[in-house]
Symmetry: C2
Subunit: 344 residues, 2 copies
């Protein structure tokens, strides 16, 4: 018997592979199913562990992805999962499968991006594994973090009437990828290609060098705010918010006209005949944080500034998950993750 | 400027990339440079972290490597690094880059091997990342473990006159690989190939399904023995013992006629015109433990049984590292790691 992976679909594949995995170790508080695993080694703090794999040709294209940025982004992707548990990163390991088409200087560029991101985020590089690859470049980042026991935030804690907040803006990374792909195609046969990115630099930064939102987790801690639930926006707002709903057994309503979309995202979407709202909902790769807090905390969260926006609220599960348009229409949210396969 | 990776060599590459990395986090006790990173989150115990990348076409060949065994071996490789710090594994994450030539059933086989090894070793599977791969199968295993502070064993603690012990026997995994490669070549053009492994099953098991030596770490703990240094035998006895010498700033003498080599290893080496001692010294992939203890602990270690063998002793650094032949000749030990690139 042979079942094709494509036939099953990626969500179902992961469920099938991991569904019956039980954790038995007394130190394992939470295994798969949230942004990071939760381990208990100390009295006051919990230890967090997450891993992310990036493959050439799937997650990045080296023809337009500078290696320094790629190193930076690999760290962002790993650390964002720790932040989404309301924790801070402490240590990171880097596995590299290196094809011979890369030079030593290329790898130094990659490492310099990794170091820069780790420096910004207060995370040590503590080891790794470097192997020759006969295929493309392979990068795996594993990150360990910590969070005080009374501050840990799972996907499962959202409650009816909680408010839904997101940081930053949505869809820019996705449009940045479209822009890079357009220029690559346009310049495929050109000597000394000069891609045209004028006016869209912001979108490139969001795609090539997204920043993990440690500032948000620090600010929440400084103000003594603990979200009821939180997730890293990696697969797209729709998909990630549905994960919160599924884990918390709740529904949600979000307002279309509250979705924060940057001017550059609107502009390029118009130029490319794309719907910016679709990019915002399903674009993915934003690496912003989505979280919920009780209604009565609205003002305290808004007072944080930092570009945090309230986009909706939590309903009972029976209400389902929907987007409300300005004229009051309700459109069911559907998961259409941007990445080919979904990760924790 | 472009420096080829092959030009620099793999050891030098890793040194160049990681040499200037400093760790600054107060919880980071030890970063790169030992079998696992050492983190301090609790009063009594230290937390260990290690990562290992396995790539199709480099680390394994799916034409003869059953996926169930591959899953098992990936766990062995990761967990061995935790054991080599005298720690025990608690949690493991599994990243998979999956090519479409694999079916869902293939992945279930892989996972069943991972589960089986984790079950034997008392380690929970706590998460992962599954991604489509346009190239071959990619596996990354990250393992977290713990060790009491007073039992942690680094590579750097070997002292003059300490004795050198190893577990198991050497070179069998390497000969097992030769056997598999020989049959693959011989049967490349044959329908319904029937490889001939009679009498060499032991070598296949050592290559395809090596067992991580948790039993050794448990026995050392039960008897209250703390080695002065320890390392996982992954790159070959010569290379790994030289790591101990370098980290501990000592030299060593090991006796050729004390190297434990299985009868099957001798037999196949004779058949293939290979030197079994070279296989034992440089074969790699054994995943046994090499450790040192003070001279006065010899009897206590020997009394453990478990196939632990004393193969030599530690000298001052000025003595260098050498193999002593039965007629008293001294041959300098040289690192000739079997794996194409060296990992932690």
């Amino acid at each position: 018997m042979r079942t094709e992976i494509s036939e099953l679909g990626e969500f179902a594949l992961i469920d099938r592979l991991t569904d019956t995995i039980e954790t038995t170790h007394p130190t394992t508080i939470m295994g798969a199913g949230d942004d990071a695993a939760v381990l208990s080694f100390a009295e006051d703090n919990l230890t967090l562990l997450t891993t992310d794999l990036l493959l050439e040709g799937v997650d990045f294209d080296l023809s337009y992805f500078p290696l320094m940025h790629l190193g930076y982004k690999a760290v962002t992707r790993g650390v964002s999962d720790i932040l989404a548990m309301n924790g801070l990163p402490t240590a990171l390991t880097l596995s590299l499968g290196v094809s011979s088409k890369l030079s030593v200087e290329d790898l130094e560029d990659l490492y310099s991006g990794v170091r820069h991101a780790c420096g910004e985020l207060g995370c040590d590089i503590v080891g790794g594994d470097t192997t020759a690859s006969v295929n493309g470049l392979t990068i795996n980042v594993s990150v360990v973090g910590t969070v005080p026991r009374d501050r840990i935030t799972y996907r499962s804690g959202a409650r009816e009437n909680d408010l839904v907040f997101i940081t930053g803006d949505l869809g820019a990374a996705y449009l940045g990828l479209h822009l890079l792909e357009r220029e690559r195609r346009a310049l495929a046969d050109v000597d000394n290609p000069q891609p045209q990115f004028d006016g869209y630099e912001y979108l490139l930064v969001r795609q090539l060098r997204p920043r993990a939102r440690r500032d948000i987790v620090d600010a929440l801690a400084a103000e003594g705010i603990v979200p009821t639930s939180m997730i890293d926006l990696s697969d797209g707002l729709a998909s990630d918010l549905l994960q919160i709903c599924r884990s918390s057994e709740v529904g949600t309503r979000i307002y279309l006209d509250r979705l924060p979309i940057a001017r550059e995202t609107h502009n390029l979407a118009a130029e490319l005949n794309l719907d910016p709202v679709v990019a915002a909902l399903n674009g993915g790769d934003d690496h912003e944080l989505l979280f919920t807090v009780p209604l009565e905390m609205q003002e305290r969260v808004t007072a944080l500034g930092l570009g945090i926006e309230m986009i909706g609220y939590i309903t009972p599960a029976s209400g389902g998950a929907a987007l409300i348009t300005p004229d009051g229409e309700q459109i069911p949210l559907q998961a259409q993750g941007f990445r080919s396969v979904v990760s924790d």
